[in-house]
Amino acid sequence: MYLQIAWRNIWRNPRRTTVIMIAVIIGVWNMIFLGALMRGIVVAMVNNGISTLTGDIQVHQKGFRNDPVIENSIKNPEILETILNNTLPSDAKWASRVRVSAIANNARHSSGITLAGIDPLREADISFIGEAVVQGSYLKADDKNGIMVGQALVDKFETKLGYKLILMSQDTSREIASRAFRISGIFKAELESTEKKFVFVNMPVLQQMLKLQNGISEVSIILPDHQDAHHVKNTLNADLPSNLEAATWRELLPMLDAYLKIYDGFILIWYLVVFIAMGFGIVNTTLMAVFERMREFGLLKSLGMKPGRIFAGILTETLILLLIGMAIGNILAFLCVYALSGSGIDLSSFAAGAEFAGMSRVIFPVISIWDLSAANLVVFVLGLLVSTYPAIKAARFTPVEALCHT
């Protein structure tokens, strides 16, 4: 019966209740839906970071991360390969690469790029390039002259499939090494900067060009569960020879890692800001309802109701309001996320600005349990907390004070 009374009390002033309920609905919807969009941006940034050659973990010669020159390559990758085969989870995937800074030229243009020598079969399993070729074909293992180039670089160089591209870099004897390749595949990437930055050739061809013998720059590893990266890295580091080191994507992409940490803090602050606006509405509405019913509280006290019961009654009314608002807000947010899950939000027109921050062209909202729980908990706990003030006020009036209230 107490619940029934609380329910009827809520609807004494339907307009006021509807207004505050709409405020809760918009607040919860806003927190969850916009939170999902922001989480989508972050997840896409992380996925872009990992799939753009970074992987979950990389192994390098010590010193390579500070000075990624050809001299800091891994000289004997066979030992490393044995360790990887023995240490990594069975469903983990990895690939070796040679990666150097180079200059690409054609008759009209030149540009600084990152030249990646890859094992085409293994690379296809661990990075974006396996599914990114849109013209021509993906590198074949025995292709000695083929090169895969990004669409944006092709446009910039005003070249096309089958045309030549000259690559220059410094070899292990610190001489300029150069070689002509023929464009065999054109790829498209999530970020235009990736298309301009990377070109791919077969690893043995690049090793030969740089006089690297069988040396490699790095091994990139993709784990079945990305969350395990830290643990696997520690296991690897324990087994690796002292001249090699493993690092997770968080260590390899410190800017992205910092952004993620800022994001988690920012979203809580943002939730609180949204709630503060909503909280004032809840306090105001509850206080108005309390003052309007002052004589009634006096009556209830004179009938023998204890202050605790009055306090609980007011909180029950707020609880019902919050639960309904939260339920509708959650449903609306899920509907919006569902509606955008297929097509996402296309930010192509803002691509330049978005790319600067490493964002994808299309944002797909992602609902995380943490964001969902945080949004609902903030509204639920703080909503009840702010309504304790009017509830305490109602409980504290003496019966005579309350009965004389006009």
């Binding site: 009827r8 006096g298 006290k301 004179s302 009938l303 023998g304 109701m305 204890k306 019961r309």
Partner: protein, 229 residues
């Protein structure tokens, strides 16, 4: 046997910087089963002494004992318990809960007492029938006349078999016909259930129903008259 004892009860209210002495030393003893009117002009202290007896307000000095409970030593929680089980109230403005039906308003006190729903309902219907509101159980206060609302208030006050019922000018908002009807009901409950009724009034018609009239003037008992003596 006294059910209510007021011994030299004093109360002063502050209105801004001005102190107003509402009670200047009330001495009053009321026996169980009494049907007592507190009479006097507006501002004489009738409502204040009713509030004191009901434990809704506290005295500055003096002693109030109701059903053997001395208020000066009781906590707010104990006072609430006493009101819940031993005292019924009837107010001038009815003070029914607008979102509840007549039946639910009467049930509410028993809900606070923890009485099971079936018994609550049975007792509430029986008492509403007794005050002449059979068939009007589901009406909300706004759907009842003033006289009917005050009958619901009487039913609410006596449904849990209190020891005393305090009524503050119960007929003031009613026409004379409804007022007389209400007083008949109160008198019937008083004689049937032996419940002590103490009510404030300044109406001659109401005083005619009382078996004892205590005249209050300037916060003191000016005259205490038992009819037939």
């Amino acid at each position: 046997m006294s059910i209510v004892e007021c011994i030299n009860v004093k109360k002063t209210y502050k209105q801004g910087k001005v102190e107003v002495a509402a009670l200047r030393g009330i001495n009053l003893s009321i026996d169980k089963g009494g049907f007592v009117a507190l009479a006097g002009p507006s501002g004489s202290g009738k409502t204040t002494i009713l509030n004191m007896i009901g434990g809704l307000d506290s005295a500055d000095s003096g002693r109030i004992v109701v059903a053997g409970n001395s208020y000066e030593k009781m906590t707010q929680s104990q006072m609430a318990e006493l009101r819940l089980h031993s005292i019924g109230f009837i107010f001038q403005a009815y003070n029914l809960i607008p979102v509840l039906s007549a039946l639910e308003n009467v049930e509410y006190v028993m809900l606070l007492q923890g009485i099971p729903a079936d018994e609550r309902r049975k007792r509430a219907k029986a008492i509403l029938d007794e005050v002449g509101l059979e068939g009007k159980y589901d009406r909300r206060p706004a759907e009842l006349s003033g006289g009917q609302q005050q009958r619901v208030a009487v039913a609410r006050a006596i449904v849990s078999d209190p020891i005393i019922v305090l009524a503050d000018e119960p007929t003031a908002n009613l026409d004379s016909k409804n007022g007389q009807g209400l007083l008949e009901i109160m008198k019937e409950m008083n004689s049937k259930k032996n419940v002590t009724f103490i009510f404030s009034t300044h109406e001659e018609m109401v005083m005619e129903y009382a078996r004892r009239i205590v005249y209050i003037k300037d916060g003191m008992v000016a005259e205490d008259r038992i009819k037939g003596e």
